[in-house]
Amino acid sequence: MPVFTQPVPRDLRAKLFELNWAFVLLIVLTGCIGVLMLYSVAGGAWDPWAIRHATRFAAGFLVMLIVAMVPPRMWMSLAYPAYLGALFLLVMVELFGATAMGAQRWIDIGPLRMQPSEIMKIALVLALARYYHDLPPEKVSTPGGMIVPALAIALPVGLIAKQPDLGTAVLTGATGAVMVFLAGLSWKVIVPGMIAGVVGGITFLRYGLEEYQRARVMTFLNPENDPLGAGYHIMQSKIALGSGGLTGKGYMQGTQAHLNFLPEKQTDFIFTMLGEEFGFIGGIAVLALYALILGHCLMTAMACRSVFLRLVTMGVTTTFALYVFINAAMVMGLVPVVGVPLPMISYGGSVMFTVLIGLGLILGAHIHRAAEPPKGAGIFG
C-alpha cells in the first residue's frame, strides 16, 4: 500500500470540493476566447456564430461537470457497449449516411444529426482503457494481448478514413497508438511496428488516398505552386498570420479575415484569424493556455491509481493535444489541410461536445484518482 491514500469522495459536495477548479477556469477561458473570436468573424455581431457557440459551450460545460461526477466504474461498464454502438453507427454511416462536402460523416437519428466518428473518439479511449485495465501487464506484449487492441483501433480508423475524414482517422489512430504505448507495449514490438508503420504509411500515401486528399498533400508540400488553387488556403492563412506581426492588426481589424481572403475562418482557420488580429502575443497566449490545460491533464494521469483512469486521461489528453497541434500546424502550413478544428474555439457543436465530455472524464479521473475499480467487473460491478 502507498504511504497514504486519499479517500475517494462519494457524495456530490465532496466531489465538487475535489473538482480541479483551476482546470475548469482554463477551460472556461478557452471557450470565452472562442466566443470572442466568433464575434469578430461575424464582423462584430453575435449572430450567427458567437451566440450559438456560447450556448453550446454552456450546455457542454454542464455535461462536462455531470460526466466528472459519475463514478469511474460506470464508465468502465459503459466502455464496451459504447464502443460497439459507435462501431455500429460508423457502419450505418458508411451504408446510409448523409453526404456533406463530399464526405459521409453524418447520420440522422430522428431529429438528431450526429457524427459517429466523434462518439468513437471517446468510446475507443474508454474501451482500450478498460481492456488494459483488465489485462495483466505481462500479457500486454503477447500476441493475444495485442490482437484485440489492434483490431479495436484499426476497425474504426479504417471506417472513418473511408468516409473519408482523414483528419479524424489520424487523430483516432494516433490516440489509440499512444494508449497502447502507455499500456506498456514492449519496445521489442514498438520498434519493428514503427518501421512497418512508416512503410505502410508511405504505401498508403501513394495508393490509398482519394484524389482530393492527394491534392491536399501535394499542395501542402508546395503551396506556392498553385496560389489560386488548392494551395490558396494555406497561402492566405500564412499571409494572415505573418501580417499579424507581434501585436496583430487589432480586434476585428484582420483584413485577411474580414475581406474573405481567409477560408472557413469560423471553423478550421480561426487560429489564423486570432493570430492576425492579436499577433504573435495572442497566438502564443492561446497556445500557452492549451499547454496549461494539457499540463493539468498529465498531472491528473500520473496521480491516478487505476490503470483505467490513467489510460482514459491520457487517451483524452492525446486526442486533445492532437486537435490543437494538427489545427495549429495546419494553419501554419506545417501539415496538410485536413479539417481539424481548434478545440473549444472553433465553431462546431459535435467536436465541442466530444472535447468537453473528454475533459469531463479527466476532471472525473482527478476526483476519483484514488479509486481502484475492480478488474473484470461487469456493469456496475
Binding site: G184, L241, S243, L246, Q256, N260, F261, G279, G283, A329
Partner: protein, 625 residues
Amino acid sequence: MRRDKQEAQAQFNRRTFMVGAGGVAAFAGIGAQLYTLQILQEDEYRVLSDNNQFSFRIQLPTRGRILDRFGETIAENRDSYRIYLIREQAGDPALALDRLSRFMPISDARRERVLRDLARTPRFQPVTIAEGVDWETFSRVNLHLPELPGVMPDVGEVRTYPMPAAFAHVAGYVQSAPPEIAGDDPLLRHPAFRVGRSGVEIARDAELRGSAGSLKVEVNAFGRVIRELPEQSRPAEPGRDVALTIDAEVQRFATDRLGTQSASAVGIDVHTGEVVVLASTPSFDPNLFVLGIPSREFSDLNENPLRPLFNKATNGLYAPASTIKGVISLAALRHGVMRPGERVTCRGSVQLGNRRFHCWRREGHGPVNMHDAIKVSCDTYFYEVASRLGIERIREAALELGFGQLFEVGIPMLSQAGGLFPSPQWKRARTGQGWSMGDTYNVGIGQGAVLASPLQLAVMTARMATGRAVEPTLYPRSAPAQFARLDFEDAHIEAVHNAHVGVVHEPGGTSYWSLGGLGVEGVRMAGKTGTSQVYSISAEERARGVRDQDDLPWRLRNHGLFICYAPAEAPRYAVAVVVEHGGGGARSAAQPGRDILRELILRDPAGRSGVIAARHAPINLAQGG
C-alpha cells in the same frame, strides 16, 4: 503483485513523461513556426496582405481643351450620362431590362449584348446598358430609380466638339485606343478613356491627355470595393489646354460659305504665319467617332465621292494653274528676261513644233505687258516668259515661294502633301523621257505635273505679298516671327503686287466684274484666279456638242482656284481657296475666297491689322530694305 503494480505505474509514468516530452516538442515546433511567420517574416507577409487588401483604381485625367485664338472652345468635355446594370441587385436581368425599357428604348441588339456582358461579369460589377444618354431619358430613369433595382445611373466625361463641321479636320477626334496602341497601359485600356486619333487631338495628345491618377481602394477576396481611401490616392493630373491660331468665327464662316461643295480654304496671317482658317468641306461630325461610330455611317463617310474625311486644305493636291503666274513673273524680273513694260502679243495660241498651245482666251489678248498679263491671266505671255526662263530658273523661284515643301503646321499630314514641282531629273526618273519646251510651257501656266495644296498656295500668296519666307503654324508662336527676306527686289514684288491688285480692281481684271472689290469701305485687295484642268474636252466630244464645262459630269469638271490677300496697302491676311470641280476659279472660288478674306479683315483685332491707318497711307513696301 504489488511490486508488479508499482513497476507498471513507474513504467506508465516514464512513458507519460516521454509522451509529454513529445508534446512539448510539438508545441515548441508550432511556437517556432509562429515566430518565423509573425516575427521573422512579418514584413514579407505584410506586403502580401496589403496586396490582397488594397487595389489601385485608375483615375482618368480630364482632357485639356482645344481653344481658338480668342479662347473660344473647339473641343471640350461634357458630362456623359451612362446607365449601368448590376446583376447582383437586379435579380433576373431580363426582367430588369424589361422594367427599364418602360423608361428608355432598348433595342434587341443592345439587349442581347447587355445580357451577354452580364453573363461574363462578376455579379457585383456594373455593366453598361447605354452611354451618352440624353438628359431627358437620364432624368426619367433617375426619377424611377426606386422601381428599378440594380439600375445605376452614372456621370462621366466625354469629349465633345461644339463646332463639329468647322473643326472636324483641324481638331480631329478622340477614340478608344486600339489594342495595338493600348498595349498593357491600364489607362489606355480603360473603357472610358479616349486618345487622340487625328488632327490636333493626336498631334498634341501628350499635352491634352494629362496623367492618370490612382484611387486606393480596399477590396475583398472577390474584388468588391469595400471602401475608398482618397487620402492615400494620387489625383489625376488634368491635361493642358491647347490654343490654336484659328479664328473659330471665320473658320465657321468659311465652312458654311464653302457649303456642300468639295472645297477647302486656308487663311494665313502674312506677318506671323499663323493659320487663321483651315477649312475643308464637306465635313463630318467628329462627335460620332468618340463613342464609336456605327460601321454603316462610317462607310457612308468613307465612300462619299466628296471625301468628307479627307483634309483637302492640307492634303488635297491640285495644279496651281494661273495662280502661279505671280511666281513666274517674279522669276522673270529677277533674271531680267522680261522688262515690266515689255509686251508680248497674244493671238490665242502659239505653235511649238507640231503642238499648239492655247491661251484660255481663244481670240487672244493682243499685245500685253506683265501687269496686263497677270490681270487678264494671259497664257500666251507666260508661255513666252517660261521659255525665256527655262525650267530650272522657274523651279528655283517656285521652291523659294513654297512649292514642293511640306509645311508642318502641327497636325498630321500626308507625306506627299508637300506637292510636286517637276524638274528634268524628276521627269526622266518618272517617265524615262527628257524635258521638253512643251513641259516648260505647261509649268509656266501652272499645269502639267505641278501640284500644290491649298495650304501651300496660301503660303505662296503670303510670301509674294510680303517678300518674306513666311512659315505657317497652327499654334501661337512664343516669340514674334522673324521671317527671312526672299531674294526678290522690292520693285519687282511691288510690280507683281500691283498686277494682283489690278486683277480685282482694274477693268479687264479676271475678278473685276465678279468681285467688284473686297466689300470693305476703303480697303482694297489683291487676288488671282486659276482654273486647274481635270479633263480636256476632245474634238469628238466637241463635235457631239460638249462645248462647256457644264456639259461634263461633275467629276470631270475643272477645279476652281483663287488666291488673294488684303489690305492691298499693307497686306495682313492671305487666303487660298480651291473648289474641286467647281469650274473656273473666277466663277467658283473667287467669291468664297473674297468673302473669307473680308471676314478676316473685319474681325481682325483692333489696331493690329492697320486697316484704318493704312487706308490713307500709301503702300510703301520699298522701305523694307
